[in-house]
């Protein structure tokens, strides 16, 4: 004897077929409307942990990106300040040459000395350049200006460096130690720029033939040495900017590739999902149609 089939069996299998068709349809609808294949970790446990990892990497990269951009702006401010110092120093050099050629009298040299003193202040002002409220030439003592205006030439900053992280365990130093150029002024006799400028002013006011001679020999020599140092500092800052630019473009490449990996892991393949949706809809319709037909059939319909 064949297996007996009862209406209850037909009903339960029809219902369970309808249920599973509808469930598949709902799942695909969720994927299509959210654009995600991983709606909860059980959909793809390994994928879910990958998403956490990749998303964090991506967030990290966007942090590194803003660090690099911030570093570049910092370096731009520093370079502008150093260019301005350079202009001042070139101007002083011209004045020294003018005073040293002997045609000027003591009055003229006094006036030049005054100009040199004003220019010294403007150098110190450039050294007090700020970026986003921080003094960029003060080492890590960024809240106080490294140089005071006026007589006191002492460096108030420190020799520590500031860096920006541009990748995991990759950071670039963005601070410039301006004290290697400017020094501590007259009293220190360190031969740095401020000392040189103070000496030049003193020699201009001195008026003796030795002083005038010193202008064109030792003073000019010191000034040239200082210019050399400045050029080096500018080169270092320029190279930091280049490194930051390179890090920035590497960062963009990485962001593109990680965003791609993230999308592969968690985003819905719209084409595939749309086709699956159409298939599931057809299956559901078929289940509904056959179900509606079979549950109505009975011998009762044919008995008179």
């Amino acid at each position: 004897m064949t297996e007996r089939i009862t209406p209850a069996m037909v009903n339960s299998s029809t219902l369970s077929a309808l249920g599973s068709s509808l469930e598949a349809l709902e799942r695909t609808t969720d994927e299509l409307s959210s654009g995600r294949t991983i709606l909860e970790p059980s959909d793809n446990p390994y994928g879910a942990s990958q998403v956490i990892d990749l998303q964090s990497q991506l967030d990290g990269l966007s942090g590194y990106e803003s660090n690099a951009q911030d570093g570049i702006s910092w370096e731009n401010t520093a370079s502008a300040a150093m260019s301005s110092i350079n202009e001042v120093v070139q101007k002083v050099r011209e004045l020294v040459l003018q005073a040293a050629n002997g045609t000027d009298d003591q009055n003229d040299r006094e006036m030049i000395a005054e100009q040199v003193e004003q220019l010294t202040d403007s150098v110190k002002q450039d050294a007090n350049a700020q970026y986003a409220g921080e003094y960029i030439f003060a080492g890590t003592a960024t809240t106080e200006p490294p140089y005071e205006q006026g007589e006191n030439d002492e460096y108030k900053g420190n020799a520590e460096t500031i860096s920006r992280a541009v990748g995991p365990s990759a950071s670039i130093t963005i601070s410039t130690d301006i004290s290697t150029l400017l020094g501590n002024g007259e009293g220190s006799a360190d031969g740095k720029l401020l000392d040189t400028l103070r000496t030049i002013a003193k020699d201009l006011r001195g008026g003796t033939p030795e002083d005038v001679k010193a202008l064109s020999s030792t003073d000019l020599g010191s000034l040239d040495a200082n210019i050399q140092t400045l050029t080096q500092l500018q080169a270092t800052a320029g190279s930091a900017t280049d490194q930051l630019q390179a890090a920035l473009s590497r960062n963009e490449d990485l962001q593109t590739s990680i965003a791609g990996a993230l999308s592969n892991t968690q985003d819905t393949n719209m084409a595939a999902a749309s086709i699956a949706f159409a298939n599931e809809q057809a299956a559901y319709n078929a289940a509904l149609r056959t179900g509606a037909t079979i549950v109505q059939e009975s011998l009762l319909n044919f008995l008179q």
């Binding site: 970790p41 990892d53 942090g63 809240t143 011998l299």
Partner: protein
Amino acid sequence: MSIPTLQGLQTALSGLVAEQTALDTTGNNIANANTEGYSRETALLEPDPPLDIPAISTLTGEGAQLGTGVSVSNITRIRNVYLDAQYRAQNSALGGASTQAEELAQAQAAFDEPSSSSIASQMSSFWTAWNSLASSPTSEAAKEGVVAAGEQLASTFKQLSAQLSTISSQAGEQYAALTGEGGEVENYANQIAQLNGQIKLSEEAGQQPNEMLDRRDLLLDKLSSLANVTVTEEPDHTDTVSFGDAAKPLVEGTTVNWPQAITEASGGQLGALLGLTGPKGALTGLQSGLDNVAETLIATVNEHLAKPFFSGESAATLAVAVKPSEVQASGTKNPGGNEVALAIAGLRGGAAEHGYATLVEKLGSDVQGAKDEQNNLQTTVTAINDQRQSVSGVSLDEEMTNLITFQRGYQASARTLTAMSELLETLIEHTGVVGL
């Protein structure tokens, strides 16, 4: 010796009665076609003892036997007890797997991954905040950002930990409700014990109490979803029911032994509830896993700082211990220093994050496994139930056919009665009446 004059009427009457009983049984089947737990019934018809007629043949002098009609020997239910045992075994497993899947799905919902409010996102924001502080170590806004991100992360940890505790304690409450006084276990056991008594009496009186047997079987089916059930039918037709790994049978004759201690080895819904919240259970594992992540986070962040940023030692106690003004980007007094902030921002992708991702992966595969198991068992249970339905279920087509068969049988018996009546009429009214 000849055939008794009125025997034909008796035979026809027995046919009428038997066909009517069969019709009634069919009617009862149709009425119960959609009753849960009902087994179709059939009236067993048996020929009545024949009448011995000695020397009926004048030719050979041999006797013969004449049938005297039909009677209904019994109305039995059609049921396969082996399928019942299989069904109950799988149903227990299904009860366990469903509970497991349900509870773990709740835990998964509490984790809320992937989303922007999950721990993973908050942790990522926390590292980003430290990175911003590294870029502007003197900024008050950046310090506040670090503390705000830290507080948000800590409160998400706390919330999740509390949600997991709630799920655990709800599982405990559910277990207590099912097993407690007036709970399902006791309720079912009492009804089964009562039915045992009634069934015993009926059987002793020589009746087959089909409806009570069906009800007892249905109760055993329901009980099997709570824990493993083994049923032994005793000679007096009572069922002895052993339940999970309880020491004594839950029901023995009319006695109920409940409450009893059971363990997670009992299977079914109760076994799963005990297992989930037990020391090696999945919920307990999630809670301790989350605590480990919190501990790692606290340790890896605090080791870079002179004044601890986080306080607490578990997910539930995690908190930010500093005010924004106390956040230091550097270990030195220099305002522009940022080496500490850089180091903490560099914890991104480190042990805490990795531990959390592993926890989520483990939870995901547990939920996936539990759901798969639930689906497989559901298929098995449905298949066994279909087999049971195939044996015991009411088929309306069949009943309709039976209805016509028995109706026709009844009509034919009635016709026999009419024929017999006419026969007797001839005999009584017309015999010996000549020429009137």
